[in-house]
């Protein structure tokens, strides 16, 4: 396995509206590392900076200070094109509001990252998309427009999409946040299964202590800092 951590943060800070009266420090000097293939939960009260951290990790926002190594590479100074490239090659996203493109079918949504990368959908990519949709239990609806699917189904499509280019890390922001308990259990079980099958690292933001307990590692944030970072009961042999 890779020796270098997948993610390494040193003194990472994020300040919004610097120099203005409305200045807010959201992240206050975080140190964190995440290994390849880990399955970690990120918990904490609202406003503790979880989503901001996820955005910074996802290269959607730039940190104001500190260092961020993604797969051994410093990314805070990359330009937009290089950041986009890094997102494409290394990261997958699952958001609370799944964000599928409603006009595309489930399979097309899953294949979109590949279409964007290559300019066409190769047969290999389409096969992988099919296999992933089968794996998330949606093989029978893959040619339906995504807007016709239920919330839980859409979230499962989003998970398949996040995995289609085989990223090293999937960032999930409350992936079960707007689902009922049954769907939410199902989706979470799916994340764990994909983790077991593909070996992708997952960082899952959640409010639900029940779900956090089913991750291998639980990182708790309070007020822009890491309050605790421990292996969860699920990881104990």
């Amino acid at each position: 396995m890779n020796q270098a951590p997948l993610i390494q943060l040193q003194g990472l800070g994020k300040v919004y509206n610097p120099g203005l009266p409305a200045e807010v420090a959201v992240l206050k000097g975080l140190d964190l590392s995440l290994a390849h293939g880990e399955f970690a939960a990120l918990i904490g009260p609202s406003g503790s900076g979880k989503s901001t951290l996820l955005n910074v990790l996802g290269l959607l926002e730039r940190p104001s200070s500190g260092q961020y190594l993604l797969d051994g590479r410093a990314v805070q100074d990359l330009d937009d094109r290089a950041l986009t490239q890094a997102r494409q090659s290394t990261l997958g996203f699952v958001f609370q509001f799944h964000h599928l493109l409603p006009a595309f079918t489930a399979l097309e949504n899953v294949c979109l990252p590949g279409l964007a990368r290559d300019g066409h959908v190769s047969s290999a990519l389409r096969e992988r998309g099919r296999a992933l949709l089968d794996a998330v239990g949606l093989g029978h609806v893959m040619d339906r427009p995504s807007k016709q699917l239920s919330g839980g189904m859409q979230q499962r499509v989003a998970i398949a999409r996040a995995l289609v280019l085989e990223p090293a890390l999937v960032l999930a922001d409350e992936p079960t946040g707007n689902l009922d308990t049954a769907s939410s259990d199902e989706v979470f079980a799916l994340l764990r299964r994909m983790h077991a099958e593909v070996g992708t690292a997952f960082l899952v933001v959640t409010h639900d202590p029940r779900l956090a307990a089913r991750c291998d590692r639980v990182i708790e944030m309070v007020d822009g800092m890491i309050a605790s970072d421990r292996a969860s009961a699920a990881a104990q042999p």
Binding site: T84, L91, F93, L101, A116, S122, S123
Partner: protein
């Protein structure tokens, strides 16, 4: 771009942009339809107006130039030269009476005839003698404009053959073609004789054909004779009072005339100079057309832009998620530019069809008192292509600002909303 091709499917680049742009347009079905119809209406108006004005101008030019030469060469005006150059220390008070312009021949015109015919752009050369006479029959007399021509050469200048309404198209010695109103005034029929009297000479000719110039004034005055008969009638043996030229491109006449005026000892006038008012009317028309085009183009640009601006706002989240999954700013930009181009292109196709329908309606339903179409209008392919390109450019131009806005959107913020 795409090296690994899927069997049975061609890739022409921009695969991602093409698909997403098409889906976005299909998704906003009603909006898309509205704006395409809007663009089509704009394109149709521009194409129709261009065709209409083009047809009108062609028609006007044909009518005007049907009866006159493109370039006319005449002897220079005779002027009175000052007899005594004024000495430097004296004041000269003189009153010069303008000279009467007598009818005279172009000096040495035969030597220029061939040279003129060889000028680039010149398609016909016709020397002629023209002057005034009284046309008489019995008690009746009318003033007439006598024109002596070599019939075939003159026909090449103004297309006289098509204006023959009765009799034969020929001019043997002693024969004349006469404007139909003049013939009516004198009670002449084909085969009748009339007397032409210039005051100093007179000649009797036989009417062989009636002409309708489409212009009342000419129909009332014209008498066309063989060149030699006219030369002797007007007392200009071997002379020519003017040389008419026809050119291939009517709009080049002015330039050609200016060039000839520098090289010849004669006065050279193009039809543009003799019809200055017509030319400025035509120019004013062209300017109006250009103005209408510009205004319609601005309206089309604004229409497409407003729809795309709304679409960018509606699709913030989708743009955000696309950016998160590794879609570049350039790709997002091209998605929206392509939408503009598609809307412009489809609008252009539809608009041209609409214009063809309008033109058909015009030529079918708008008729003159005689039941004939007022004039022929058609949509030349070049105009259709030009207008379509304009719509396409307008589409891309209109999409520019919204596309930039979409591309520069902060993905984190777009997703959060």
């Amino acid at each position: 771009m795409a090296a690994a091709a899927v069997p049975g499917r061609a890739h022409w680049g921009l695969g991602f942009e093409r698909r997403v742009a098409l889906r976005f347009l299909l998704e906003g079905r009603f909006q898309t339809l509205l704006i395409i119809v809007g663009v089509a209406a704009g394109v149709a108006v521009v194409a129709y107006i261009s065709a209409l004005v083009g047809g009108l101008q062609r028609n006007t030019l044909e009518k005007t130039l049907g009866a006159q030469a493109h370039v006319v060469i005449t002897p220079p005006d005779e002027r009175v030269l000052p007899a005594w150059p004024a000495a430097s220390d004296t004041q000269s008070l003189s009153d010069t009476q303008a000279r009467a312009q007598r009818l005279r021949s172009l000096g040495n015109w035969q030597s220029y005839e061939h040279w003129l015919a060889e000028r680039p752009g010149v398609t016909a050369v016709s020397p002629l003698v023209s002057g005034a006479a009284l046309a008489q029959r019995g008690e009746a007399s009318r003033s007439a404009a006598v024109m002596g021509v070599e019939l075939a050469r003159y026909d090449a200048i103004v297309g006289l053959r098509q204006r023959l309404v009765a009799g034969q198209f020929r001019l043997l010695p002693g024969e004349a073609l006469v404007g139909q109103l003049l013939a009516a005034d004198l009670g002449l029929r084909v085969g009748d004789r009339l007397v032409l009297n210039t005051g100093s000479r007179s000649d009797t000719v036989r009417l062989v054909g009636l002409l309708d110039y489409g212009i009342r004034d000419l129909n009332r005055r014209m008498v066309v004779l063989p060149l030699r008969s006219a030369q002797s009638l007007l007392d200009l043996p071997g002379g020519a009072t003017q040389i008419d030229l026809r050119v291939a491109d009517v709009w080049s006449a002015r330039e050609l005339a200016a060039g000839l005026a520098r090289q010849l000892p004669y006065k050279v006038e193009s039809w543009q100079e003799t019809n200055a008012q017509l030319v400025s009317a035509l120019n004013a028309q062209s300017i109006s057309t250009t103005l209408i085009r510009a205004v319609v183009m601005v309206v089309v640009v604004l229409g497409i832009a407003s729809v795309l601006v709304v679409s960018v706002v509606q699709k913030r989240r989708e743009i955000g998620i696309l950016r998160a999954m590794g879609v570049t700013q350039g790709q997002i930009m091209r998605v929206f530019l392509l939408q503009g181009a598609l809307v412009g292109g489809l609008g252009a196709v539809l608009g041209n069809l609409l214009a063809v329908a309008l033109i058909w309606a015009f030529t079918t339903f708008v008729r003159g008192a005689d039941g004939q179409p007022l004039f022929v209008i058609s949509l030349p392919a070049s105009t259709a292509v030009q207008v379509s390109l304009m719509a396409l450019v307008a589409g891309v131009l209109a999409a520019w600002a919204p596309a930039r806005r979409a591309a520069r959107m902060d993905p984190a913020q777009a997703i959060r909303l």
